[in-house]
Amino acid sequence: MHAVIMNGSPRVRKHSNTDRILARFLQGMTEDGSTFEQYEISDRKQWERARTAFQHNDRILIALPLYVENIPGLLMEFLETLIPRGGDATLSFILQGGFAEGAQLRCGEAYLEMLAGRLGCRYGGTLVKGDNFGIRLTEGKEQERITAPYREMGRVYSREGSFFSEECRKFTGPETFPFFTRLLISVVFRMIARKRFARAARAWGATRPLDDRPYGGRGV
């Protein structure tokens, strides 16, 4: 199988979590014998070639981060320029986000199903998974732990050409966490995560508190 892969993240490739995910996913795909060509929507100079690839291939996959419950504005701007296909191509998606619970991504997933039809394509399903914010803040083995599971999903996509299998459905993880897990997460955020975020912010050069209100008002 040959697939057109589009990284729909507006973030430049160097810092793109979606790109790290795709790297693992494409490793699995190629191990299964598939080939691909990849385009970065963050780079407007690639849009013309990406449009041509969309028109002339029958297996297309767009990977994207969830932005305010749906696709990022920059990706929408690109998609608005496409000429819809005539039902002769399959369009699948990898939807990733920061929130860990699967339920957080369902509104975006529902749009992607509609979008495939609007672009004149058959819908090939969406691989949905959250809890990916940490990719940007980690390196090496810790980052690998987050992205590695996508390798197997690349193999599945290579074999089946879609994300409708039970294996892909389970990949999302829990739809919502049980009460006690949520309680534990809340405690972790209050006691540990805030310190970690503050450390990351100092490394990024922040000189103001993370809950600063630059346009007025008291702190959180």
Partner: protein
């Protein structure tokens, strides 16, 4: 204060809204973004981690953001594309990230980012063109969660009177 953000090139809708809102004595402000430079969010996370609350993209969105903070209602008037709001409307929402901190908590059964400011607006949509209205309504409900506020509804541009009835 009712904030109306018109991302379309057509000032006819906002003209009607101005007329109706003046009659009802509603406190409102209209922002026309057609002549503004508003870039898409790049997802750099600087507004969370490097310059908390301040977007790294130095364009006209900052004036919009300052008005969103403290407004009681925010209505985005948008064109549509591919069954949803077009990229200009979506960019207004994507760029709201600085109004939240990167801290997380559970509110109303949902994990959300902790808002940076105490007063944020309810959210409504007025759309021009063809869209999947049921989906837009679902999306607006979800988008309002980011403000920890409520959705005011989704109205076509020929339903201005119905929308105005929700503005106060």
């Amino acid at each position: 204060m009712v904030l109306l953000i018109n991302t379309t090139d057509d000032t006819g809708v906002t003209g009607q809204l101005r007329e109706l809102l003046e009659k009802t004595g509603t406190n409102f402000e209209i922002v026309q973004t057609a002549g503004m430079k508003i870039n898409p969010c790049m997802g750099c996370n600087h507004c969370w981690l490097r310059t908390p609350g301040i977007c790294s993209i130095r364009d006209d969105y900052e004036t919009v953001l300052k008005r969103i903070i403290g407004a009681g209602q925010m209505w985005v008037i948008t064109d549509t594309a591919l069954g949803f709001m077009d990229h200009k409307g979506k960019n207004i929402f994507d760029r709201i990230l600085p109004i939240t901190t990167m801290y997380l908590h559970f509110r109303n059964g949902q994990m959300r980012h902790v808002p940076r400011y105490p007063v944020l607006p309810d959210v409504g949509i007025i759309f021009r063109g063809e869209a999947d209205r049921a989906y837009l309504e679902r999306w607006t409900e979800r988008a309002a969660l980011n403000f920890e506020r409520k959705a005011l509804g989704v109205f076509r541009s020929d339903e201005i009177r119905e929308a105005v009835a929700c503005m106060r």
